[in-house]
């Protein structure tokens, strides 16, 4: 019995080593580049209507790229979203993680802030996403995950600063995963990991490293129609795909070379499986189509 268990462990380790040797490439073609005089934009999201929203916090605005191709600037009325980091489309509303002011803002398309959710325990929200009936927020100050109900009332939070599984060092961008799991980029632990909403049943998706199949600065995460988890590496500039169980599925390439983007942050995959990447350091958004 002990032998079988040990054999399984060894097999898992072995399969991991072998898996690294068979990395795949996922070819992309460049669709367009949206610059729109961005100033270190951070995050991106979209809705079912095909509209895409880019958070251009340093310019205190959101830039909307309508499905029609029209680019619209949304300036917040009265409030400010200066230095906000995260943005999400939740239940037909645009929500912004107003990071330095510890709050979440619901913004109408005319810029009116229709709801302000003040977060407790000095949370500095980095990203926000919906997961079933819950709203999940990452916190760069306390290194925690806060879960709110559908009315944006805090239900609980979990996590602490640390390197163990279940601990975080600067949890960053989020994406809703399959089976009601939440995918979190654990930035300075250099890993991507998924949890149940309550923080249990962790599953490492991407491990630390600077080789293909590894992650060094996990930033934006997104799920495509094939349930592949795409992860942007803020330092190497690579975009890589993993399975929800942690299998490396491929690295994004274009014209035979790895995509090397400029400090990629938020990523968004639209209903056409096009990959939108915020290249923050270059202050632009690039759009890629999977071949």
């Amino acid at each position: 019995m002990r032998f079988k268990t040990l054999l399984i462990v060894v097999s898992v380790i072995g399969s991991g080593l072998v898996q690294d040797l068979v990395a795949q490439e996922v070819s992309f073609t460049h669709v367009r580049t949206l610059e729109s005089e961005f100033n270190f934009p951070t995050d991106i999201c979209g809705n079912e209507q095909g509209d895409v929203f880019v958070l251009d916090g340093m310019n205190d605005r959101v830039v909307q790229l309508k499905s029609s191709g029209e680019v619209v600037e949304i300036k917040p009325q009265r409030e400010s979203i200066y230095k906000a980091v995260g943005i999400a489309w939740i239940n037909d509303d645009l929500w912004i993680a107003d990071t330095p002011r510890s709050r979440l803002l619901k913004m109408k398309m005319n810029g009116r802030i229709s709801q302000v959710v003040k977060l407790d325990h000095q949370t500095e929200p980095v990203d926000i996403t919906a997961m079933g009936d819950n709203i999940v927020v990452t916190d760069r100050l306390n290194h925690t995950i806060t879960v709110l109900d559908k009315d944006f009332k805090e239900k609980y939070y979990w996590g602490t600063r640390g390197e163990k599984v279940g601990e975080f060092i600067n949890p960053g961008f989020l994406a809703p995963g399959p089976e009601n799991r939440i995918i979190i980029g654990d930035i300075l632990n250099r890993r991507v990991i998924s949890f149940s909403p309550s923080g249990r049943y962790p599953q490492i998706i991407a491990k630390p490293g600077v080789e293909k199949g590894q992650i060094f600065r996990p930033k934006g995460v997104a799920l495509d129609s094939q349930k592949r988890v795409w992860v942007a590496d803020g330092y190497t500039g690579a975009i890589q795909a993993f399975s929800i169980s942690g299998k490396f599925l491929g690295i994004a390439t274009s014209e035979g070379k790895n995509l090397t983007l400029s400090a990629p942050m938020g990523v968004y995959i639209d209903n056409q499986d096009r990959l939108w990447v915020v290249e923050s350091f270059a202050s632009k958004v690039s759009v890629w189509r999977m071949k």
Binding site: F3, L6, L7, V10, I13, D20, A23, N39, F40, T42, G57, M58, K83, V85, T99, P100, V126, R140, E163, N170, G172, F173, I187, L188, R190, P208, G209, V210, E211, K212, G213, Q214, F216, R217, K219, D233, G234, Y235, T236, G237, A238, I251, N258, T260, S262, A263, M265, S280, F281
Partner: protein, 691 residues
């Protein structure tokens, strides 16, 4: 089974060894923690080049011979993009930023990138100081930023002397700098107070070349300079400058001051003559070819630089030991002392209240009296400019009407243009000329312009190496004298106790005797008629407006006598006079006979036998008068009889104010043996009856 177990054990051991070998190591081979590779990305061991995702960076910094690969803005941005810390503002700023060329700096200990440019790691390292909020956040700086230590490591030249704006100095609590401003310990000013390294502005409150907002944050009072003639951006707006300052903008400071690397102290923007010392800042413009050439001045005005002030004068910002400078009296930033508003028009002519004076030369003479405290008593006297007559004169002469500047030119000779040698007389006669309000002194005055000797070294004016007598010999126009110093009134009739005399002439006539000590013999004789307000001299002599030019005799009533001298004597020696006990009933020597004076005869001095005409003393031919035989200042021609035995002591031929012994007179020359008989006949009515 055993073999299988061995295989498994060996595999497990190898796996553990592999895990150990595949940890992280620095270039020295030491195993490092995961924290290290958070930034030292190349320290990941055994990176397969075929799989490596590391960007191809030519690492500018090496650590122990290996590329550190970290000193790039990209690495820093991976955390400072808002997800860990938000330094996007820093990256967006063009301030002290990556890729900045090293200018105005002497890099000593801080690292630059491979191109010799500044990058994040020049100032920051996560290995260094931990963040602290003691006096300001120190975000992993390589050096302490308090006391500007970090800045001065490269910019040491910016801390030199006063050519740069001072640092580590206390700032007024009334400053209006932004809340986010960095202050040193105890609120001192540091480099980063004005230069927020990663702020939105390169320098707080500076737009282009206009530093008005920044400067006014702490130096608001200096902005009273706006629109004055010292606001060169206004007064010289349309003039081109080839001397450095910027006259083109709206920053009035910029014309004269630069924040760093000034040409001289005070962050001076223009070159100045180093020999001119502290006054060079003023003279640089107020010279014949300077920007302020319309207001040049000569050295005939108030002396500067060579005077060291002995006491502190807070109102002028002067400390004991300071030298007297232009700025002692002038605040170049404020046109008008009492008002904060700007001038009403350009090139407005200055007054005693404006002219960039620190204090006005008003009715209290505040500016001048700050130092010349002893002169303040003048302000309650007839010499005060508050007198109505003064105001009238000012209107006529269009001069400054300050309490002091009415007579004194601060920067020019008040008598500029005059061809006369005696400045004091000219100045006094502006008012005392008989045409204006002041007492006229135009007739029969004490002689001036003559050499004199005085015990007290009285002043005069200098000419040809001599001190000549002038108004200021006897008068100090700033000090009325005893009476008025106790009174607030003016228009008092002066007497020997006051009258702006340099030395009080009462009860003893000290002023007169200072130059005429030989006349002291008058005192205590029967001719010493000192009264309550008149000295022994003043009864007979009037230094101004006298009845006669010779002897400056005071005016007398209609006393009998054939000559002025006789009338003068008989005014007392008459029945109603104070000398009624010594009436001279017979006196007049026949005037039809002219008599040669001793000089004319060649027999001695005029005073041996002074003769007179109707016009006064004569050196040739005259007639006998009272003073021919009598010297009213001496009881006796012999000093041993000078002392009076008692009041009203009867005289004899040794005393009786006789000038000389009878035998030395010239009487016998004409009268021979009948001299005594004639003398008695004409001088003594009692004896006359005997004949």
């Amino acid at each position: 089974m055993i073999t299988a177990k061995r295989v498994i054990i060996v595999y497990a051991i190898l796996s553990i060894l592999c895990m150990s070998a595949f940890g992280q190591h620095n270039p020295d081979g030491r195993k490092v923690s995961l924290d290290c590779v958070t930034c030292h990305v190349s320290w990941h061991d055994n990176i397969d080049p075929d799989k490596s995702l590391l960007p191809d960076i030519e690492a500018p910094i090496q650590i122990q011979g290996m590329p550190a690969r970290i000193p790039t803005a990209a690495m820093c941005f991976t955390c400072h993009d808002g997800t860990v810390k938000d330094s996007r503002q820093t990256f967006a700023s063009s301030n002290h930023q990556m890729d900045m060329d090293v200018k105005h700096a002497d890099i000593k200990d801080l690292p630059l990138d491979k191109d010799g440019k500044i990058y994040c790691g020049t100032c920051h390292t996560p290995h260094s100081l931990k963040p602290t909020r003691n006096g300001g956040l120190a975000p992993f700086l390589r050096m302490e930023k308090m006391n500007s230590t970090l800045c001065l490591d490269c910019h040491s030249n910016q801390a030199k002397s006063h050519k740069n704006h001072p640092i580590q100095v206390r700032v007024s609590p009334d400053h209006t700098m932004p809340e986010s401003t960095f202050w040193g310990q105890d609120g001192t000013m540091e480099c980063m107070t004005c230069h927020p390294i990663h702020g939105t502005e390169a320098v707080v409150g500076v737009t282009g070349n206009d530093r008005s907002e920044l400067c006014s944050s702490c130096h608001e009072a200096y902005f009273n300079i706006k629109l004055t003639d010292h606001d060169l951006t206004s007064s010289l707006m349309n003039k081109s400058s080839d001397i450095g300052p910027d006259f083109g903008g709206n920053d009035p400071c910029a014309a004269c001051h630069v924040s760093h690397d000034g040409q001289a102290n005070h962050m001076w923007a223009m070159e100045i003559d180093p020999k001119a010392g502290e006054n060079g800042y003023c003279i640089g413009c107020h010279s014949d070819n300077g920007l302020g050439q319309e207001k040049t001045f000569t050295h005939a005005g108030h002396p500067v630089s060579k005077i060291t002030l002995r006491k502190s004068i807070p109102a002028l910002g002067i400390k004991a030991g300071d030298k007297l400078l232009c700025k002692s009296c002038h605040d170049p930033h404020q046109w008008e002392f009492s008002s904060k508003h700007a001038v009403s028009e350009k090139n407005e002519e200055g007054t005693e209240y404006t002219s960039f004076l620190r204090l006005p030369d008003d009715a209290q003479g505040r500016l001048c009296v700050s130092c010349h405290t002893g002169q303040s008593s003048m302000f309650n006297s007839d010499h005060s400019v508050a007198r109505e007559g003064f105001q009238q004169l000012f209107r006529e002469s269009n001069t400054l009407n300050g309490q002091c500047t009415v007579c004194h030119g601060a920067h020019t000779d008040a008598l500029q243009g005059s061809t006369e040698d005696d400045p004091y007389t000219i100045l006094c006669m502006r008012c005392h000329d008989g045409q204006h309000f002041a007492t006229s002194v135009v007739h029969n005055n004490h002689p001036i312009g003559v050499p004199f000797k005085s015990k007290s070294d009285l002043h005069g004016y200098e000419k040809d190496g001599q001190t000549l007598l002038s108004c200021n010999t006897c008068h100090d126009p700033h000090k009325w004298g005893k009476t008025v110093e106790q009174s607030q009134t003016v228009d008092l009739k002066g007497d020997d106790r006051n009258s702006f005399l340099t030395i009080s002439n009462w009860p003893e006539p000290k002023l007169c005797l200072d130059c005429h000590p030989e006349q002291e013999t008058l005192l205590n004789t029967d001719h010493d008629l000192t009264e309550e307000d008149k000295s022994a001299c003043s009864l007979c002599h009037a230094p101004h407006n006298a009845e006669t030019e010779y002897g400056i005799f005071a005016k007398w009533g209609d006393a009998p006598g054939a000559s002025f001298n006789e009338k003068h004597c008989f005014s007392c020696h008459s029945e109603k006079g104070s000398g009624s006990a010594k009436l001279v009933e017979g006196y007049s020597h026949p005037r039809e006979f002219g008599i040669l004076t001793p000089p004319a005869r060649g027999t001695g001095d005029w005073l041996d036998f002074p003769l007179f005409t109707e016009a006064g003393p004569t050196m040739t031919v005259g007639h006998i008068d009272c003073f021919t035989c009598h010297d009213p200042h001496k009881w006796s021609y012999k000093s041993k009889f000078q002392e009076l035995g008692s009041e009203n002591e009867e005289g004899n031929d040794l005393t009786s104010f006789l000038r000389n012994p009878s035998q030395l007179t010239l009487c016998t020359d004409c009268h021979g043996e009948s001299t005594l008989w004639k003398y008695n006949y004409y001088h003594d009515p009692v004896k006359r009856k005997r004949y």
